[in-house]
Symmetry: C2
Subunit: 620 residues, 2 copies
């Protein structure tokens, strides 16, 4: 720390810059405005900003960015196609306009300014005392105005958003009138919106691709996008008969030009091998015309969401498809997000699979971690952050994983509508070792398969603990676990290799202990709950009067009661062994919240001892 | 915030100082050491440092200090009578040498240095990157070396101790050998000790004292201090017969010269008026010879602890003593702390009361807030911070307080050995309004009557909520509430005026709900607890198997179950009304933790917008 502190030079030149800037600011009406920053040389190349996402449904605002892990900063390039009197761009916890961290470009009709600002709980804008959105350049081009700016992941300014792994809620607002100062803006009144992205894309080197690689496009056949906000479109595709086993080694989106802002996410599912054939279908997934059998097409082959790039398998592994024992039928699902209700837009988007017949050393597999889909795991109503935890125990990994372990390289987090955070942690010998995947701003509306920054090795005896945080403030009755959209899930689909028989490693509270809880709550609350034996678990949860005691005791139950383990080869077939009334994994050492490392405030004295002239101290 | 940030000048001169200091540090072996700081002019006057406390039992280290609330800093003067090769002085959470914040004076045998350091969890010393103990001067005098230094309450350096109201655990360590660098010191191995003080004495203006003021010394009559570490000495004194009602308006300690480090604390109690006379006694309080009747002398008239100064009543109030209806008998109790087991020390310490016959407008009173002394409030074993809360409800204050309210001006917090923190908060209309008194480093070994920084007005309908935090990590069975030294209390004795009939405003959980808890725990844990009706509450607590569920549910019970209120005129006489099964006060708005206001780290750019030359933005 001494080194650090001493090596930092005092920024005397910045004092002058600050004074100058401040002078200009106060006298700006009287002076001609000078161009403080300008893009050096020519326009930046496309490859400078590999990630791109439209911010608004019309695609008038287009954000490109890159991530420098060395500098711990993101560089943004924002294309504004039809600039009016300025623009707000920023980040907030869940996409709200209040308590947001914003870069603001504004014009009073004559002059334009750029600054770092924040909005308070009422949406009122304030200039930030520390300017962390750093403007690097601005450039007029035929297609619009490009703004280039930079933002460190962590600024140590309490008014700033901390850019972390996982989902980031980007927000934008349009200034449609001249504004005379930033303080005059209330963001809550602006026309704007939000866009979710994974800002901190992992920095992964692309594996070499084989020369015999082939491609296959699973795309919608010239669909007319329905003129409604939300459509899930289903289209059935089919592999050629006798198509042998191949490895998918990469896939990427194929998005019809002009529809970039409408195609929200796409998935390709493989159907169950149990059925010999599946009907053809091309229509909305919720249509009455959709054949029921399509519900058996749920094995994910590929998944893409807006802002994601091509997905590459690690060079040692590929995802098997084709060959005996797997279905020839594929289902493409496209989520069209059309809030402006455009009519008659045609779309042929989909996913392009890259595959090879030269099989790689390992088949990749997908394993489900988290909670069993059962109503015994429930969330009381009115909770702002209720936590449920699912376990993959040492006993299960001991039994099911090879001695050499498995390597997790990607992860897709999944909850239903109440989910707000999801994290999976790897624990070994009772000590949490590392985060497998975490999303502190998780949204059920933005589910992607994400490559991990680093592959995580899991060995027999390790534990994988998946924790989901829910918000049920808008609900009046308990939310139980289950498949329904208003029921909840807590799942992490991890992608790994080599594939093992273990498809599912999940838990739920022991039903006997839950019964004790209902009993206890019933007696404590003067027998108000129906404990009749024919009443279902959801009905019992719905009849609980939710006071603080009943809530707290449910939390205590979930963090104490033994669990029922699903250590399964497939969703119905367990590994042999005793899986009921298993002890909860005990954690003796938790991972510390990483938290930003902020330098201490500038001290009154340097970090060096003060020499004293006291003569010899001891007088002996 | 902009204003603030811009007005801060860049500290260019300090850059030079830093570089110079750093140069000296690295080249100190080659150069003659210069005297960097020296006391300007003559020695500081006694009045510059009004507070004084010996640090060690021999009184070889004497700390004086003053508090500047304007500068938010403490100035220390440390007298080192027999300096060897240096000294450590500092602060830590509870007086431990590890994780401490230290000022260090050290000598390598030739040169001496002063610096701000911190010790890690293993006691290893490190130079702090931010030097917050600022040396102001050093001075040789016949009695020893004086060090003068300054420390801000809050430094915003995470390695530093935050100086707050309430108890501060000071520590010292002696360097008995030359040390060649600060990094070579491990504090755990040093000879040293701790001293508890209230560092942030309130800045109270002393009320004018009346001309007819008289004094009375209640002092021990030439006691030979027993040669043992801990002695509680009891001495009975007596007011003259027919002594009329007076007001005590001030008191101060009388400590025999040379015994400053031995007299730990002293209290004067008035005996119960119910008895006509009390026997004389002069001896240890725990002696078998002590008459039992002395146990009825418990009404506090005056209390002093090491480091405290004179206690002044507010000018409108005095503490009544003498006159009909009050006992003539007083008990002086002195705690002698003699860890070095000095033999034959004689002592005549005590307390000097200043009183007046010209009664002030109001009698002062003492009221007990917190928890009733009952085993229904219990702490499980092995807890590091278990919280119990006692309530003085709106219903009680509505009934017992005058419309004009009362003014609390002083407070004495009290727990037994497991107590670690105590805080009383005033709540009005369900919203916490202010802290009455708080000690985040409370020690049961350091109980003083503390003047509040500001008088707190309490009106009918207000609620006073007292919360105690306990540590029972060293215990193997539950700790129940009660009078015993291994039982617990949670009390705040508040001193206020005008005196009312309300002597006691305390609560405990409803016994019926506790019974439900025992029942519930019993059923949940397979009937392991003896629920036989003849078993006492402590016995039931002792038989609970303390797993996380039983602990958590006890916490939930205490924060949910209705309470039994003691809204009493004296310890046995309640105000009329229904006081059983009262609802817990509901708090809709909590006080925010104050926390230090730290400036954001220096930013990359000044807080001013960047003007851009974009021409007119809108192209219409």
């Amino acid at each position: 720390r001494m080194q650090n502190s001493r090596s930092k030079p005092c920024s005397c030149p910045s004092l002058k810059l600050r004074e100058v800037a401040s002078m200009y600011f106060t006298m700006v009406a009287a002076f001609l405005v000078i161009l403080v920053v300008a893009l050096q040389g020519s326009a930046p190349r496309e490859s400078d900003f590999p990630y791109k996402v439209p911010l608004d449904p019309q695609g008038l605002l287009e954000l490109s960015w890159n991530v420098s892990y060395r500098e711990q900063a993101v560089h943004f390039q924002l294309l504004i196609r039809e600039l009016q009197f300025g623009l707000l761009f920023g980040m907030s916890d869940r996409g709200e306009f209040e308590n947001a961290d914003l870069a603001v470009l504004w014009s009073d009709g004559h002059n334009s300014y750029f600054g770092d600002a924040w909005s308070d709980a009422k949406g009122q804008l304030h200039m930030d005392s520390q300017q962390d959105y750093q403007l690097l350049g601005a450039r007029r081009a035929p297609e619009g105005l490009y703004l280039l700016f930079r933002r460190a992941f962590s600024t140590c300014d309490p008014k700033d958003y901390l850019i972390e792994d996982g989902t980031v809620h980007l927000i934008y607002g349009i200034l449609e009138k001249p504004v005379h100062s930033l303080q005059a803006i209330n963001v809550s009144a602006l026309h704007g919106g939000l866009q979710r992205v994974q800002l901190l894309k992992p920095n992964i080197s692309i594996p070499e691709l084989p020369s015999d690689m082939k491609t296959m496009e699973i795309t919608a056949p010239d669909v007319v996008i329905p003129s409604q906000e939300t459509t899930y479109w289903c289209y059935m595709a089919e592999l050629p008969e006798g198509f042998p086993k191949h490895h998918i080694i990469m896939y990427e989106p194929v998005v019809t030009e002009g529809n970039e802002a409408l195609v929200h996410h796409m998935e390709v599912f493989q159907c169950a091998a149990a059925f010999d054939s599946f009907p053809h279908y091309n229509g909305p997934c919720d249509s009455k015309m959709k054949p029921d059998r399509l519900n058996y097409c749920r094995h994910v082959l590929a998944a893409w969401a807006m802002g994601a790039q091509a997905f590459y398998y690690p060079e040692e592994a590929g995802l098997a498809f084709g060959g005996p024992g797997s279905s020839r039928y594929l289902r493409l699902e496209i989520h069209y997000h059309n809030p402006l209700v455009f009519k008659g837009r045609r779309d042929s988007s989909g996913i392009r699979l890259y595959y090879t017949a030269t099989l790689r050393p390992y088949d990749a597999g997908i394993m489900e971690l988290g909670l069993v889909y059962t109503p015994v795991m429930a969330i009381p109503p009115g909770e702002d952050n209720f936590i449920l935890t699912g376990y993959c125990t040492d006993k299960c990994t001991q039994l099911a994983l090879p001695a050499a372990g498995i390597r997790i390289f990607a992860s897709q987090l999944h909850t239903h509508l109440a989910g707000r955070k999801v994290v999976t942690v790897l624990s070994r010998d009772g000590r949490e070792r590392r985060v497998v995947n975490a999303d502190g701003h998780y949204s059920p509306h933005f589910q992607e398969i994400r490559m991990l920054k680093e592959v995580v090795a899991v060995f027999p005896g390790d534990e994988l603990i998946t924790t989901c945080t829910y918000n049920t403030e808008d609900r009046s009755r308990a939310t139980v676990g289950g498949f329904g959209i208003l029921e909840e899930m807590c799942v992490n689909y991890v992608h790994y290799y080599p594939q093992t028989q273990l498809e599912l490693c999940k838990s739920a509270v022991d039903p006997g202990y839950l019964h004790r809880y209902f009993n206890l709550v019933n007696r404590f609350n003067d027998e108000e709950i129906c404990m009749c034996p024919q009443v279902s678990v959801p009905q019992q949860f719905y009849s609980i009067p939710w006071n603080t005691f009943n809530r707290d005791v449910l939390k205590s139950l979930y963090s104490f009661a033994p669990i029922s383990m699903h250590c399964n080869k497939s969703s119905a077939v367990r590994f042999p062994g005793e899986w009921e009334k298993q002890p909860l994994p005990s954690i003796t050492e938790r991972l510390r919240e990483p938290g930003p490392r902020c330098p201490p405030a500038p001290g009154p004295q340097p970090a060096a001892p003060v020499p004293l002239n006291l003569g010899q101290l001891r007088r002996d």
